[in-house]
């Protein structure tokens, strides 16, 4: 059985407002325009061809598509014969006399023909669009659904969206249909060419220029969907980015199908496919999905614990460290936003045993399918909630909802920014006054670091030049060999290796400068000098 998936993506920033009165008026106007468009289109349809197509199981909308009818004709809510009849009668009152008869005649023929279709006992599913443009589809348990009109279909979609409980302002609709439809369309066209190719109305371009099933479906329901969801609909029918992975792979499969079909010459096509396409007994399956494009919340985090990793770190089912910054922040935000999942992104990282103090490190939380977009007050509450957790392992600052630019803000300049640290250092001999002067005298000192042994298993062996912008020693009262080292370095500098030298692979190092053995006991990041998510 063929199946098609329909995805409705909803994206918005503010709360929805529902204007009931205008929606009805809107629908009415659309209907009138659509009816007018149809009334104009019908005369151009050769009746004998229409009859033929209907008899082989092609639905009304597919007939319109095949003859190049465009635009708002599809948004006519229902294509019942009686509506068509009425609207064309109204139209004919205003149009010229010479066309009156013509209108009538064509619509009469169509009327008869449609009546012919209706008198059949079985529901006929279009052999081209497989019921899609007739708003008929199968649901999971072999249940057949047939909506009488586009607006009924739109209502059922709108209901599904409302069930999710999103607060939205606009939406975009994404439709994907089974690729066999392409083959069906080509089969019909070849059948028509064989039978009617010599007739005057037949134009070669019919195959490539017609409205596709996807576009016809979108045109049919966009406006009414918009009206049912809120007062206005989205003009933009384009696919929104950020679709799920399964969607992507489906599209790739479609592309392969399309390519192989395009590569097939007509005579081979006729051998492999039946002309015209066979009748179908069942419509396709409809799968519906609705989700919001991700929202981003940015801020700066502080880490007070030496036993908390930045991201979730699990080896052999065992967690390393007590908790992770990612989980503390994300798990406290997710329920408030009623999202499905979150992703944590930070501007750089620190080891599990290094604290992040001072102004904090910029980070971004990407929330998938958030049902509620938080207001400023709600964001403040989230911040307080995280900062008042019992453990006090992590704190956040300057939390706020950011748009897509938050991403670029964080990534840009990540490699150039300077970082400030405070390190607790021990040396193998007593500290002297001279040492303080020596260390403070270095400005923008260049060091060469080979990839530290502790990360050499997963990073390339390279020699990297780094800059130590300045250093300052602070003595610790009561100790001659312990002292605090404050330093400001280029991003990407390994501080621990700079202190102990890493078997001489970092040069110069504190040990080599002071001419003795140096060890680092504790390290704290005191400043991440970046412009994003600062206190305003």
């Amino acid at each position: 059985m063929s199946s098609y998936t329909e995805v409705s993506q909803v994206n918005a920033d503010e709360e929805a407002h529902f204007v009931a009165a205008s929606e009805v008026a809107q629908v009415d106007t659309n209907n009138k325009e659509a009816a007018q468009s149809i009334g104009e289109a019908i005369p151009s349809l050769p009746p004998h061809v229409v009859k033929d197509l209907l008899s082989i199981g092609v639905c009304v909308r597919c007939i319109f598509r095949f003859f190049g009818v465009r635009g708002c004709a599809y948004s006519c809510l229902s294509l019942l014969p009686s509506d068509l009849h009425h609207s064309s009668v109204e139209e004919s009152k205003d149009s010229h006399d010479c066309s009156v008869g013509f209108c009538f005649k064509a619509s009469e023929n169509l009327n008869c023909v449609l009546a012919f279709q209706e008198s059949e006992d079985e529901p006929v599913f279009c052999s081209i669009c497989l019921g899609i443009l007739q708003f008929a589809y199968s649901k999971e348990k072999e249940m057949l659904v047939k909506k009488d009109s586009a607006s009924e279909f739109a209502v059922s979609i709108a209901e599904l969206v409302k069930q999710e409980g999103h607060q939205i302002e606009s939406f975009s609709l994404e439709v994907s249909v089974p690729p066999i439809i392409l083959a069906n369309e080509r089969a019909i066209w070849l059948y028509m060419k064989t039978k009617y190719g010599s007739e005057s109305w037949f134009q070669e371009k019919l195959l490539t220029e017609h409205t596709s099933v996807k576009d016809a479906l979108k045109l049919s329901i966009m406006d009414s969907l918009g009206s049912f969801l809120f007062g206005t609909g989205s003009e933009d029918n384009l696919v929104a980015p950020g679709s799920e992975f399964s969607e992507q792979s489906a599209r790739e499969a479609d592309a392969v199908f399309r390519r192989s079909l395009d590569g097939l010459p007509d005579h081979l096509f006729c051998e492999r496919f039946t002309l015209p396409p066979e009748r179908v007994n069942q419509p396709c399956h409809l799968a519906f999905q609705c989700y919001r494009t991700p929202i981003y919340i940015g801020g700066r985090y502080l880490k007070y614990s030496r036993n908390v990793s930045q991201t979730r770190w699990i080896i052999d089912d065992e967690r390393m460290g007590q908790a992770s910054v990612e989980e503390i922040i994300g798990s406290n935000m997710l329920p408030i936003l009623r999202g499905d999942d979150y992703k944590f992104h930070a501007a750089g990282r620190e080891d599990i045993d290094v604290r992040m103090l001072g102004s904090g490190r910029p980070f971004l939380i990407e929330v998938q399918n958030a049902r509620d977009v938080p207001s400023c007050v709600a964001v403040k509450q989230m911040e307080q909630k995280i900062n008042n957790l019992e453990d006090r392992l992590v704190a956040v600052k300057n939390l706020k909802v950011v748009g897509n630019q938050g991403w670029t803000l964080m990534r840009e300049g990540e490699a150039e920014k300077q970082k400030q640290y405070a390190a607790l250092v021990w040396i193998s001999r007593p500290l002297e006054e001279e040492d303080l002067l020596t260390i403070s005298s270095f400005k923008d000192m260049r060091i060469l670091q080979r990839t530290p042994i502790r990360v050499l298993h997963r990073r390339s062996p390279l020699e990297r030049e780094k800059i130590i912008h300045w250093m300052k020693v602070e003595k610790i009262t009561g100790s001659s060999q312990y002292f605090l080292l404050y330093l400001c370095t280029q991003a990407g500098t390994y501080i621990k290796e700079f202190v102990h030298g890493d078997f001489g692979r970092t040069n110069p190092s504190i040990g080599s400068i002071l001419g003795c053995r140096a060890e680092i006991l504790q390290l704290d990041v005191t400043d991440v000098k970046m412009d994003c998510f600062l206190t305003e």
Binding site: R355, L357, L456, H457, R458, P461, L484, G504, E519
Partner: protein, 174 residues
């Protein structure tokens, strides 16, 4: 803080300077808090802390490896990488000590290898008895072996110019 006053704007300047004052005060309050967090309690610190090597590596020794007096160390990191070197009791480090080191042993010059990339392309596979280098004292030379089976990533080429490091800073930079 600049207190230059334009008499007409005294009030404004005063409030501006008090604004600057308070933000400066806030900044130094933050700095104070930071300082308090950073300064350690000496009572928690050991008189002599363990070294980076002891904290991060498991130290193995191979005494008399294949020959008497050929004592070597192998420091193994949790990530599987090993650092191989001469133990302080190695016969080469007695008396006058090492004068030169030559990485050209076996089939290739070990100091010429260039390993690249995360996958460590071009790393040569060695067995425990593969020769890494020769160290020369005044009158003899000793072969240093790999002791473990693995791929060679890097040699300490500083020893070529400064073989004396082996005598002075063995176990740390030698």
């Amino acid at each position: 803080m600049d207190d230059s006053a334009n008499n007409n704007n005294n009030h404004d300047t005063a409030s501006a300077s008090s604004c600057v004052n308070s933000s400066q005060q806030e900044r130094s309050k933050e700095e104070q808090e930071l300082h308090e967090l950073v300064v350690p309690d000496l009572r928690d610190l050991p008189v002599t802390p363990s070294s980076a090597v002891d904290s991060n590596f498991v130290c193995y020794f191979a005494p008399d490896f294949m020959k008497p007096g050929h004592d070597q160390y192998i420091y193994r990191h949790a990530n599987g990488l090993c650092v191989i070197g001469l133990a302080p009791t190695h016969v080469a480090l007695k008396e006058k000590g090492v004068t030169a080191i030559d990485f050209n042993v076996g089939k290739s010059d070990r100091s010429e290898i260039r390993v690249s990339g995360k996958r460590k392309k071009n790393a040569q596979h060695f067995e425990a008895n593969t020769a890494l280098c020769k160290v020369c004292t005044g009158d003899a030379y000793y072969i240093v072996r790999c002791c473990v089976k693995g791929s060679l990533l890097e040699v300490n080429d500083r020893l070529i110019d400064q073989p004396g490091l082996l005598n002075s800073s063995f176990c740390i930079t030698g």
